[in-house]
């Protein structure tokens, strides 16, 4: 039995489509049901979890594999194997501030107040370029922090950039690009080597062909 931690929402549904094409699963699980565990067959079980929690379920071995964005993996530095790039859920981790803000001006401040859902990434990024930062951890609608002036800038993911634009913000610096990864528990990888390798190969082939 292979247990898959699937993130709720659009990323999860896109991942399901790839897994169906790859023949790993036969059908989608109903996202609107209140059930969280689905036995799709004798060999596949799906756990429906929040995107931020996928890596935790996989790292602890409750799920054998899972699908999660690289942004989340970098933030939590989970001890999991990243076995395939699923090439979906593309986004960029960026520093953004009010439109018209000059990078030189922003980065020459003595210290920056930074609103973000990614405190670890933000802290490390600013430390690396020798800027003292004060991180304000937020849970959503991070743009608001910069718009209202609660923070000097934000560190967040953008895909199209529409939300930034609508709120009068713009990208100051790009940190890294992120896509969804198929991750695997270390112990499961070795103990279920054949099953996991065949899933990895089927998904890589599907992703490459799409």
């Amino acid at each position: 039995m292979i247990t898959i931690a699937l993130p709720k929402g659009r990323l999860g549904e896109e991942a399901e489509e790839i897994m169906i094409k790859a023949g790993v699963v036969k059908k989608k699980v109903p996202q609107d049901s209140r059930k969280l565990i689905f036995d799709l067959s004798d060999t596949i079980r799906i756990l429906l979890v929040r995107a931020q929690d996928v890596a935790t379920y996989v790292e602890m071995g409750t799920a054998d594999i899972g699908i999660v964005g690289k942004d989340v993996l970098v933030e939590h530095s989970s001890e999991v194997l990243e076995i395939t790039d699923m090439k979906i859920g593309y986004c960029k981790m960026v520093v953004a501030a009010k439109k018209g803000t000059k990078k030189e001006n922003l980065f020459s401040l003595d210290f920056l107040k930074v609103g973000t859902k990614y405190p670890s990434i933000a802290k490390k990024f600013f430390s690396n370029i020798s800027i003292q930062s004060e991180i304000i951890k937020l849970y959503g609608s991070v743009e608001l922090a910069a718009v209202t002036g609660m923070s000097d800038c934000i560190v967040d993911i953008v895909s199209t950039g529409a939300t930034l634009k609508d709120n009068g913000l713009e990208v100051i610096e790009e940190l890294f690009e992120s896509t969804a990864r198929l991750i695997c528990n270390r112990s499961s990888f070795y103990r279920e080597l054949e099953a996991i390798e065949s899933i990895k190969d089927a998904i890589s082939t599907t992703v490459a062909g799409a």
Partner: protein, 331 residues
């Protein structure tokens, strides 16, 4: 309103309730007996094979751990100051303190030495990740024998010990010599080497590819490095996958590992998985690397390998191989 309400309101304030810090347990239920039995039966195997018990101190100089394992490991130890201002650390691992003791106390003529221990180690962990900060370990060290006989003996004992605790187990074996050889051919900067190491630990070939794109070097070496994380499986399968790169003469780096596997007890050999891309967080391993896995545990329950360089940090040149089993993960 009940009194409970007041109690919860206090959660907002900074007053800490009396209890235990994260990642620490005070075990008083039936598991205590189980753990005691497991530790005892594994210790008996070690002693039966001629290993002598050592009882190291719980803390010693921080410097010992930094010399042995480097800053990235030592910084995760619990440290505090001695009266004279010297920095002390709770032991992060058992191998480093034993290597220090052996280096200072013993000469070449005393070798080989075989030691086992059953002690706790202490490691900093991020908050709220469910990981223990005090790990119960049972392990052994075989010091003074450079040949494969020592590796074979140690891996056989590990198999026997894991079988005592769980019916199904897997031992993953690698040899870092192949990996370090390839890296040396690519002439990477320290920054790139760190990034390559990180991508190997995660078997993240996507990031690895991005790093290698930035690196000058012979394309065949880049190509094998890109494939190395997934050279995993039975010895036969792994050698088959390596064949594509045979013109680079890699067999000298895998022959040793294959001879070890050939000589293992049959009952242990059937549980072996070879992983030529196995890279471990302890930098002191120089050749064979070992990990043990059992059902229903998401982490490696055993870690070890050959560490012929560690003693140099303490002024000696002794070959050694050993492993530790983390009993905490079984229960």
């Amino acid at each position: 309103m009940t009194n409970k309400y007041l109690e919860y309101m206090l959660y907002e304030s900074d007053t800490d309730p009396i209890g235990l810090p994260d990642g620490i347990t005070f075990l008083s239920d039936a598991r205590g007996d189980t753990i005691d039995d497991q530790i005892q039966s594994i210790s008996n195997i070690f002693r039966g094979r001629g290993y002598n018990k050592v009882i190291p101190p719980i803390f010693e100089y921080y410097e010992t751990f930094e010399k042995g394992s480097g800053y990235s490991i030592a910084r995760k130890s619990f440290s505090f100051k001695d009266k004279d201002g010297k920095l002390l650390s709770l032991r992060y691992d058992m191998t480093t303190p034993i290597a220090r003791m052996v280096s200072m106390k013993h000469k070449k003529e005393d070798l080989p030495l075989k030691f086992y221990y059953r002690e706790d180690v202490f490691r900093e962990q991020p908050l709220h990740t469910g990981k223990p900060r005090q790990l119960r370990q049972v392990g052994l060290e075989f010091i003074g024998e450079p040949g494969i006989d020592a590796d074979v003996e140690v891996i056989n004992i590990l198999g026997e010990a894991l079988a005592k605790v769980r019916k199904n187990y897997r031992i993953v074996l690698g040899d870092v010599k192949l990996y370090t050889h390839i890296l040396s051919q690519l002439k990477l900067t320290q920054h790139h080497t760190d990034a390559v190491n990180a991508s190997f630990v995660k078997k993240d070939t996507t990031s690895l590819g991005l790093i290698l794109d930035q690196v000058e070097g012979i394309s065949q070496y880049k190509s094998i490095l890109q494939h190395l994380p997934y050279m995993v499986g039975t010895p036969k399968k792994v050698l088959e996958r390596l064949k594509g790169f045979s013109e680079l003469g890699f067999s000298i780096y895998t022959d040793r590992l294959m001879s070890i596997i050939d000589q293992l007890d049959k009952s242990v050999r059937k549980n072996i998985i070879v992983d030529l891309g196995l890279v471990k967080d302890f930098s002191y391993y120089t050749s064979t690397t070992i990990e043990g896995y059992v059902d229903q545990v998401g982490y490696a329950v055993a870690n070890g390998g050959r560490y012929d360089q560690l003693f140099k940090a303490f002024g000696q040149d002794f070959p050694a191989v050993g492993f530790a089993i983390d009993i905490s993960y079984f229960n």
